[in-house]
Subunit: 158 residues, 4 copies
Amino acid sequence: MSASTWSLSITDRERLIKAAFEAKEFAYSRYSKFRVGAALLSTDGQIIKGANIENASYGGTICAERTAFVKAVSEGTRSFSALAVVTDVASPLSPCGMCRQVIREFCAQDMPILLVPSDYDSRIAKGEKDGILETSIAELLPHSFGPEELELPREPSA
Amino acid sequence: MSASTWSLSITDRERLIKAAFEAKEFAYSRYSKFRVGAALLSTDGQIIKGANIENASYGGTICAERTAFVKAVSEGTRSFSALAVVTDVASPLSPCGMCRQVIREFCAQDMPILLVPSDYDSRIAKGEKDGILETSIAELLPHSFGPEELELPREPSA
Amino acid sequence: MSASTWSLSITDRERLIKAAFEAKEFAYSRYSKFRVGAALLSTDGQIIKGANIENASYGGTICAERTAFVKAVSEGTRSFSALAVVTDVASPLSPCGMCRQVIREFCAQDMPILLVPSDYDSRIAKGEKDGILETSIAELLPHSFGPEELELPREPSA
Amino acid sequence: MSASTWSLSITDRERLIKAAFEAKEFAYSRYSKFRVGAALLSTDGQIIKGANIENASYGGTICAERTAFVKAVSEGTRSFSALAVVTDVASPLSPCGMCRQVIREFCAQDMPILLVPSDYDSRIAKGEKDGILETSIAELLPHSFGPEELELPREPSA
Ligand SMILES: [Zn+2]
Ligand SMILES: [Zn+2]
Ligand SMILES: [Zn+2]
Ligand SMILES: [Zn+2]
């Protein structure tokens, strides 16, 4: 499965990455001190930003990626063409498992997911490789189940 | 503790309730078939809408109230003056515990929370009582802990 | 609503409190450094211990109270007569909202919930008041909804 | 990365699978009607069972796999050598993303994870292939982050 069948234009790719960095500024990371920003591109060209919003109960924390998804879906947007995620760490970090499951609910298996290093801008400025890890939910959540699996025939419960 | 010190104007109250109904239309309630809408009024007069966004894993579900909060906070809005919630059930239903904990993170103890019955509009049309249960997080989550409690002095951990 | 109709014997009360302290020793509180212990008394006299088990994703954290409940229920025990909770903080701290919702799923409204201060033992040794805050889910999660509310008649969804 | 370096004996494999089926019997799957059982083998030879414990709030649901982990860890067991999961569906179903993240917290990348079809027993009785999908967290949660990634050097937060 390859992300290359998706036509994410250079322009869209750049504005999506920029939006993920902007999104990170609004993180409410009071407990972890670990800021994350996400940006989601919808198939109709909108960009929806998310940041991690933590909670004193820890378990009530909602990650940047899920924030972006619920923002979009709650405004009627359910069709997406790319996602970008950035943290304050130089190596590209990947969504947590819970976010992968939410991505799985709404996105095609091969939709591009861009994991952006925090020093992306300086890499670009220096003419270096951009350091982005480009992946997909097929890669990040193999053997996944989604809405359709819950409708498979089941043995009768006891 | 009383919500009466808050000056939620009639106009704000009405547009908040209307927004909660509108929000409900975008619920993604594929598993429960139970739609919920929420609307949050920020102290600078914005209205932020949320709907429940469910997930095949059930545990990955995010309620309408939390959707509204992460939308607001991820756009830089952290100060709120009222919340309204509505479902498809005639009796006013209350936020789940997890949402109460998220409300606790960001709202004053006595901020008005309006639990709106699904037949609000027809009640108003008939000149009946509006059926709204007006409450607060002080009432809904007594003896709560928030950010400050995590900073209390602790015994040394083993 | 009063917890006084419950006959929690002195012996059961003491062994429940002791169990909550023991439970705290197994907390996996790598991120918050905040240990919590819980102990649940089943109606058939078993004591089930829980501790908070945190996760690098924060949102994947499961509190001490919920740990105790899923342990019990997954062994076939669904009927409870008391819960005790203790942390490393001297003042009695209360369950988070998510845990209150899980308590609501399985317990009677007036089942005793004992919030135990970390210095309980030294209080007892000194002959002081035990400092326990005794409460119930009726008090901690008023206007709650549970399984039955999800079965209320609903307006047709759009 | 291969699971074959693990010496899961035939005996352990069989008692683990049996335990996962037994665990499923205690599922509290009131909302999804979808039962899941999990069994965890600790390095000291214990078997810990888990079932899915659902909640009226949906988001408060805890899966079978996470139930097994919090049971073990809250009793002082943090080192594991295999996991088995079974549902009521004939095809082997995989843990949700949230559970994968919890597995990641406590298990080696190549620890065997057995996804067992519901008709395993009749397959064995008929002398057919057992239908088990054997995998690992390396495969199920690639590019994952765990405790160590949260300690990477970060750019200063704004
Ligand atoms: Zn996440
Ligand atoms: Zn909720
Ligand atoms: Zn809790
Ligand atoms: Zn799961």
